[in-house]
């Protein structure tokens, strides 16, 4: 009885297999799946063992890309909103990719697939539908070299196998020291004609390997500067938690310095109010191995602790009141520029006086002679 049942099941399975192989399903464009072959090779330099992740970001629609969840929330605040993403220049595309990399790590967005480059520096992501993907890699440290990959946008568009060359930047460094020192600095960039209107402090979040590690306050008392130490081998990210109203923010970072630049941006009439995330663009400075992240600030931001909304400078965090005693030393004699002139003014006086006296003496003499 069992043997008959097993034969029947085997027959059904065989039939299904034959049907699946011999009778192809009608494949629509949306069902196409391809493979992305990532190569970390340049000249003779092969980067093996680098961990990469791929995120599905969106798909092409009409003449633009439409971001899909969970990336759709970022799209309105990325790059140049006045033109289609297809019209962005390479720098803008690269910067947006870097920005999304920061969000993907900090906000722990779901990874579509991940893997490690093999001995040939190759990694394949399979079963990718047509669409826009973000490919990001982890920093890899090998002996005296540190490899820093850039985030890359990639579009699958009907290919069975697509190739992507992603050679990370290489930084030579000594790994002798167990600890490294990191610093973050805040810079205000105000418009020339704008009156000083700075926040009294900012809250800066320090992320260590993608996890919030520390929240620090930067203000005038510490020179908008913070320094910390950590053992080597960790990746740090820095984000300004509350971006001042009417300011844009730029994040720049090499592997030990992180710079936050707030630039005054006059409010635009068409600005939309969003809470999260701030609009962000990122540039990747190849020449200096510096990654730059720029965020366009939403017109209102939420206070990190209290949840209140900053609407104007008067509502910014209060500052401590300090009484300063100033001693004013007054001088009755105003400061003068150095006397760089020679003593010429007495010459005409002396000449005039002398000639006058001599003339008077001669006149008296003539008068005396006449008398």
């Amino acid at each position: 009885m069992n043997s008959i049942r097993n034969r029947l099941l085997a027959g059904i399975c065989m039939l299904l297999f034959v049907i699946s192989v011999c009778v192809p399903f009608p494949a629509g464009a949306d069902d196409r799946k391809g493979t992305l072959s990532l190569w970390c090779v340049q000249d003779e330099e092969i980067v093996s063992g680098m961990h990469w992740q791929i995120y599905r970001v969106g798909h092409r629609e009409d003449n633009d890309y439409v971001f899909e969840a969970p990336f759709d929330g970022y799209r309105p605040t990325l790059g140049d909103q006045s033109v289609s993403m297809l019209e962005w220049d390479a720098d803008t595309v690269a910067s947006v990719a870097e920005t999304l990399r920061v969000y993907a790590i900090i906000d722990k967005l779901p990874v579509r697939s991940e893997g490690v480059t093999d001995a040939q520096g190759n990694l394949q992501f399979t079963n990718l539908e047509d669409g826009l993907y973000l490919v990001i890699g982890d920093t890899l440290k090998l002996e005296t070299k540190t490899y820093i990959p850039s985030a890359i946008f990639f579009e699958m568009n009907g290919e069975e196998e697509a190739y992507l060359n992603a050679f990370p930047k290489i930084i030579l460094e000594t790994q002798n020291e167990q600890t490294a020192e990191y610093t973050v600095k805040k810079v205000w960039m105000n418009d020339k004609n704008q009156p000083p209107d700075l926040s009294t402090y900012i809250i800066c979040e320090l992320y260590r390997d993608g996890e919030l590690y520390e929240t620090v306050q930067l203000d005038a008392s510490n020179g908008w500067y913070y320094k910390w130490s950590d053992e080597n081998g960790h990746e740090w990210l820095v984000r300004e938690k509350v971006i001042p109203k009417d300011y844009t923010v730029v994040y720049k970072g090499n592997h030990t310095q992180y710079l936050i630049i707030n630039t005054y941006e006059p409010p635009h009439n068409d600005s939309s109010i969003t809470d999260e995330p701030p609009s962000t663009t990122t540039t990747d400075d190849q020449a200096s191995d510096v990654q730059t992240t720029t965020s366009t600030v939403s017109t209102s931001t939420t206070m990190p602790e209290s949840g209140t909304t900053l609407q104007s400078s008067s509502e910014r965090p209060p500052t401590e009141t300090t009484t300063v005693t100033t001693t004013v030393v007054t001088s009755t004699e105003p400061p003068k520029l150095p006397q760089t002139g020679q003593l010429w003014w007495p010459v005409p006086l002396l000449c005039g006086g002398g000639l006058t006296l001599i003339a008077a003496g001669m006149w008296l003499r003539r008068k005396d002679d006449q008398s």
């Binding site: 930047k169 992180y258 010459v347």
Partner: protein, 210 residues
Amino acid sequence: MRAVKISCMAIGTALLLAALFLVLHNVAEDRKGGEQAEAVLSWLEQEIPEYTPTETTLTAEQYDLYAPFEERIPEMETIERDGIAYIGYVTVPALDVVLPVQSTWSMEALKTSPCRYAGNLYADDLVLCAHNYSSHFGRIHELQSGDDILFTDAKGQVHPFRVVDVEQYPGTAVEDVTFGNADEWDLTLFTCTLDGQSRVTVRVEKNEDL
């Protein structure tokens, strides 16, 4: 009556002699200042190396991310001679004048050459003062807008400027001479007028064309 007559003649002659003495003194001082400046200049021209721009390629480790945002204006290099530091020399082709410039000013220092009164060449706010010797800045009132001025720093780099304005300020106008409209000039030269009450002030801007 005779005594008055003699006194007038004697005092008048004395005053004329005093005037003559003062003129001779000033001329001698002018000439001495010129000679001293010339001596220093010939030495300085030998000491200042030929400028060769250096291109440095910064690696990521060396790249200071904060540097562009910090006002790290380098102090002007100096060359010392007999304990006196010089920051370079200034050339005024229109007046056929080339003069060394001392790093700091004092009344004694001004007898030798022009001095830095304030500012920094690299911060575009350098102010030079000098005596109004004809061999020093005595003729800068003759300069006109567009005239070239060159400043050669202690590294040998020649910084070309051109005159944008010549004006006079009272001797008490320290702020005006040193900081007034600083965005509109990069270098200032000043000296006394003949009466000593005012300062002939020449505003100079960088000449990007050269």
